[in-house]
């Protein structure tokens, strides 16, 4: 009998196969996504939040494939992976629901829906694997359909070039990451296990921990590898074009879910296994994340197309997650994980709504869209308003709770009478990003939906097929925003054990 987590990972794959063999694509994909959302919620419900110490992962399943080195198709959740799993099932449902009807897809509708399902399966596999090998492999599995989809179903005349860029860029990033992971594997113990839990125990045992100098270069490899995947400055230039040119569900899934893999890896693997390395490169990461927040924040202001602007803003917001990661500590890490969720949902929402706009008006260039569209498509305008304010961290949305925690996290280690350290300075400078993101979001909202109506087109307002996924995402954001405890309770046991915070 497969465990609930195994079903979560393999159900989308089975659904993809079924579509391949002739099942109705949209119906099957949405059905599988709904079932997966249900399983995800049940799994969350059965997670014991009151556990103290002891078992690190829960709901574990393991199928040993190789004894030495120990390799197993093993799944399990702790608070962090549980939250990312929930993010994945929510965004997946929204993404397949927001996908166009089969008749509107140019090319094979089957492949379109199959790709989305495979990305979901890959992401779930990566987040739920407790085995380093599969953690990596599942992520690669998710990347392939991403590349294909941009090339085959993307928008714009440059989509082939964009697809190539992201393929090579992320391919190289993955290779660097692979090198780092292999180095890690080789240096921890006697290269005899891929089990993340065991590796962490060894890395934190003073007898078996990796020497500092070694930690340092391995961490750098992981930082660059994971960093490329998360679009850490200056390794970000694949992102805006890819998101702008990708079909809507792919932008939603990649920016919303898959991109979090890099951050997940840094917190899950690099942080606990290489604490000295993390310490050593802390200031570098702080400088780079300021690049994300301030430099790329300003670059976002200069964008003239909504899709590129949203893509760039997504890159910018990664800086805050990095800030939480660097701050470490209970508050910072909690904030970082919460922001991964919040950002994932809100960016998916923005891309979904941008897709609805593109479908109606043909273009997403601010100048071509004209203004005053709020009069024409009021529902779209209202939902976009929700999305815009969620994304700039308005209280009531999950994003705010997460960002506040990250800032408190950055000040958590500060002593009452100490001067400000670089970490706190970086947090203060990053806070200015809150102003920057309000500038570009409100400008875009103003330009598109407000002011006098100029266009002569009269499209219909949002259909239910567009509204349902948007509302699903908004409700998720507001639930967590009003009551962050709903997710934070899962994190507490993980924060107490060694999986998230170094000893």
């Amino acid at each position: 009998m497969p465990s609930s987590l195994e079903i979560l990972v393999f159900l989308p794959i089975l659904a993809a196969l079924a579509i391949g063999f002739g099942a109705p694509a949209r119906f099957t994909a949405i059905g599988a996504a709904i079932i997966n959302l249900g399983i995800g919620l049940v799994a969350a419900k059965s997670y014991n939040v009151n556990i103290e110490g002891g078992a690190v992962f829960q709901l574990e399943s393991s199928r040993v494939l190789l004894e030495s080195p120990k390799l197993a198709l093993a799944f399990g959740v702790d608070g962090m992976s549980l939250i990312l799993m929930l993010l994945t099932v929510i965004v997946t449902l929204a993404a397949v629901w927001a996908s166009p009807a089969e008749s509107k897809i140019k090319g094979s509708p089957k492949l379109y829906y199959i790709s989305s399902l495979l990305i979901a399966a890959g992401a779930l596999g990566a987040f739920l694997s407790t085995d380093l090998f599969f953690l990596y492999a599942f992520h690669e599995l998710a990347l392939i359909p991403t590349f294909l989809m941009i090339g085959m179903y993307g928008h714009g005349k440059n989509r082939k070039r964009t697809a190539w860029t992201i393929t090579i860029y992320l391919g190289v990033g993955s290779l660097i990451l692979l090198a780092g992971l292999i180095a890690l594997f080789v240096n921890i113990g006697q290269n005899d296990t891929f089990s993340i839990a065991e590796m962490i125990v060894r890395a934190q045992d003073s007898e078996t921990m990796i020497p500092e100098a070694t930690q340092s270069w391995i961490y750098l490899l992981l930082l660059v590898g994971f960093g490329v995947l998360v679009s850490l400055f200056p390794f970000h230039s694949w992102a805006p074009d890819a998101y702008a040119d990708a079909p809507t569900p792919i932008s939603m899934l990649h920016a919303g879910v898959l991109k979090k893999f890099g951050l997940y890896g840094l917190i899950r693997i690099a942080g606990p296994m290489l604490p000295a390395g993390a310490e050593k490169w802390m200031n570098l990461v702080l400088v780079l994340l300021l690049g994300n927040i301030i430099i790329l924040g300003l670059v976002t202001i200069a964008q003239k197309r909504l899709d590129r602007m949203i893509g760039m803003s997504s890159v910018m917001h990664m800086g805050y997650v990095f800030l939480g990661v660097v701050a470490g500590g209970t508050i910072g890490i909690s904030g970082a994980v919460l922001l991964m969720f919040a950002h994932g949902v809100s960016i998916a929402l923005l891309f979904a709504l941008a897709g609805s706009l593109r479908e109606r008006f043909g273009s997403l260039e601010f100048d071509k869209l004209g203004g005053g569209l709020g009069k024409l498509v009021p529902k779209l305008g209202l939902l976009f308003g929700f999305a815009a304010f969620a994304s700039i961290g308005l209280p009531g949305f999950a994003n705010f709770a997460a960002e506040v925690m990250i800032f408190f996290g950055a000040f958590q280690p500060m002593e009452a009478n100490a001067p400000l350290s670089f970490l706190q300075w970086a947090a203060i400078i990053s806070l200015w990003g809150v102003v920057i993101s309000a500038v570009y979001m409100l400008r875009a909202f103003r330009k598109i939906f407000k002011g006098p109506l100029t266009t002569t087109e009269t499209p219909k307002d949002m259909s239910w097929n567009e509204r349902v996924p948007a509302l699903l995402l908004i409700v998720s954001l507001m639930l967590v925003g009003f009551y962050p405890e709903i997710l934070l309770k899962y994190l507490r046991p993980a924060l107490e054990s060694l999986t998230l915070i170094g000893s």
């Binding site: 200056p234 005053g372 308005l394």
Partner: protein, 605 residues
């Protein structure tokens, strides 16, 4: 029902419930939406009156809890120790109720009526949240929410460019203030390890004040008030906010939201008291704002803008008071209360005038309205009397309180500034009054002006009564204000401000009585010291130009250097890679996938 917990939670949550149900269900039923919204604010008013005699404590709800780090949504309406929330809550719900009633008439035929009332309800939710907040983070939460409700309401007529721009400007300017506010909250947390107001005990504050960062922390917190209460240099959004419907201006941009900054400072007065530097900064910011705004008001021609600048100026008084040790904070809050009544009255009066004159707002295109709108005339006259501090009116006592406090604390220069403002205010208000109501009608719109419907009278009458008498003991005591009317002391403050009043009114009568157009022309004041132009220039240079430059660098330097050049080098140099360049994407990704599969195969078998 006399239980603080129940009452406070009803006050907080009822408007939210109404707003949500309008937004997601009743949008097509504007009449019902308006009634629901008005009914809900009436209920909160009753609750806030009951709150005065209620006992017990509100039970907080945990919002965030990570081990030792806890943020509650807790409602602070303590017993006698904390009259601040009760008085403020009454003001907010009371003016809120009147403005809702007034809006029933004013927005009767508006297309977006349901949306408008939903916005008002969101505002009521947010504002009561600020008043009830028991800690800094919760205050910040509702602080931001108030900002967004103001954004929604200023931009109510969003198809107008000016309204859409004003809304955006208001939100962004406030965000700049909030940037400082958040830094302040973080630093205070580091220094005191507390965020709850009740925990800022003298010992904890004294201990925190030893740190060199303490002054900076308090000044940073004050930045929040600079934004929300529109103090110089972040005052620029408030005059533009007059693009919103006039009842909104009365409620949000005169009586309540803009006063939130003053309220917040009063809440943290324990902290301000420990930082001399921060108190000085607050004192001077307030004084400068009071003066600069009054000067700008002299040369404005839009009736709402004149009132907006006078609001800025009066807020300056209140903020200045918060920087005065001793009686300052109480005097400032007292002025907040009286100002809320008479300024709401003036704005609603202005709304009636605009409504009656077919949406004319330029005072030079009015004139002679005394006979056409007698009712509005008399209530507006009472509001004006209170604003220019005619002895005996509520405004007189509260303003005297602030000037006295400044004088007593030895802040001579700010005191003099306060007295100059006490001369400028009567001058520009008399100008407004003469040009609008007296003389002959100067345009067709003014000539055809009609008195407004009766539903709009009710709020005007009630507010007029309060503008006159709210400083007298029964009412002031009911509000739990720490100040009330008393026989004037004959001292320099009284003498000079009386002189300012007579001189200001007299000079304005002499210059403007019977005139058809403006006689004096001071471009510097008329153009608001060119501050908007300067800011636009700065934004163009420091934001848009740099953003454009960085965008260029990002596309043509970072991307090539970090990505394309290394990639190209690798691809051209390495014949190894050339083997894999099959030339199409599908092929490449196939190889990519095949690699992974091969790896799994290799490991497994």
């Amino acid at each position: 029902m006399h239980d603080v917990n129940t009452l406070a939670w009803i006050i907080l949550l009822l408007p939210l419930l109404v707003a949500a149900s309008i937004l997601f269900g009743l949008k097509k039923m504007p009449g019902l939406s308006a009634l629901l919204s008005t009914g809900s604010v009436l209920i909160t008013l009753v609750c806030s009156i009951l709150l005065f005699s209620a006992t017990g404590k509100a039970v907080p709800v945990t919002w965030i809890s990570i081990f030792e780090f806890k943020v509650n949504i807790g409602l602070l309406v303590g017993g006698d120790k904390d009259p601040l929330a009760k008085g403020m809550m009454f003001i907010v719900t009371f003016i809120g109720t009147l403005v809702h009633i007034f809006s029933l008439g004013y927005m009767k035929d508006d297309d977006g009526k349901a949306r408008y009332f939903a916005g008002l309800s969101i505002f009521m939710f947010s504002m009561t949240g600020i008043v009830l907040a028991d800690n800094l983070v919760m205050m910040f939460i509702f602080w931001e929410l108030v900002g967004v409700s103001s954004y929604i309401l200023i931009g109510h007529w969003y198809n107008k460019d000016s309204a859409a721009d004003a809304a955006k400007k208001a939100f962004l300017t406030n965000r700049i203030g909030d940037f400082g506010f958040m830094i302040g909250i973080l630093l205070v947390w580091v220094l005191t390890k507390q965020i709850e107001f009740a925990k800022f005990t003298p010992e904890i504050v004294a201990n925190a004040a030893k740190s060199p960062l303490f002054d900076i922390a308090i000044i940073a917190i004050f930045c929040g008030a600079i934004g929300k209460s529109a103090q110089v240099p972040l005052h620029v959004w408030l005059p533009d906010a007059m693009e919103g419907p006039t009842p909104v201006s009365a409620l949000i941009h005169a009586a309540t939201m803009v006063a939130a900054g003053v309220f917040m400072l009063a809440r943290v007065s324990a902290l301000i008291g420990a930082s001399e530097l921060a108190a000085t900064v607050i004192l001077w910011t307030g004084a400068i704002t009071a003066l600069v705004a009054a000067l700008m008001a002299l040369q404005q021609n839009d009736i709402k803008r004149i009132l907006a600048y006078s609001t800025l100026s009066q807020l300056g008084y209140m903020v200045m008071a918060q920087g005065i040790a001793g009686q300052g904070a109480d005097a400032g809050m007292f002025h907040l209360y009286t100002h809320a009544f008479f300024k709401a009255l003036l704005f609603l009066g202005a709304g009636a005038i605009i409504f009656g004159c077919h949406h004319e707002q330029n005072i030079w295109k009015m004139g002679g309205l005394r006979k056409k709108m007698p009712f509005t005339f008399w209530t507006f006259a009472i509001g004006t009397a209170a604003l220019i501090a005619v002895p005996g009116t509520s405004g007189f006592f509260s303003k005297e309180g602030i000037l006295h406090a400044a004088h007593a604390a030895g802040h001579d220069f700010p005191w003099v500034i306060g007295l100059i403002v006490a001369f400028l205010t009567p001058f520009y208000m008399t100008r407004l009054f003469i040009v609008t109501f007296l003389g002959k009608s100067r345009t067709e719109n003014a000539d055809h002006a009609k008195e407004v419907p009766q539903i709009m009278f009710v709020p005007l009458v009630i507010l007029a009564v309060l503008a006159l008498f709210s400083a007298y003991k029964p009412i002031a005591k009911f509000l739990q204000a720490k100040g009330y009317a008393h026989a004037p002391e004959i001292d320099p403050t009284f003498g000079w401000s009386l002189f300012g009043l007579i001189a200001g009114v007299g000079l304005a009568i002499w210059i403007y009585k019977g005139r058809e157009k403006e006689r004096i022309n001071i471009p510097l004041f008329a153009n608001k010291f060119y501050i908007d132009e300067i800011y636009n220039g700065l934004i163009a240079i420091f934001q848009d130009a740099i953003a454009g430059l960085l965008d260029f660098i990002d596309r043509f330097v970072i991307d090539p250097v970090v990505a394309r050049f290394p990639a190209m080098t690798a691809f051209t140099a390495g014949s190894f890679f050339r083997l894999f360049q099959v030339g199409n994407l599908q092929g490449y990704t196939f190889l990519f996938g095949a690699g992974v599969v091969a790896l799994i195969w290799f490991l497994l078998f």
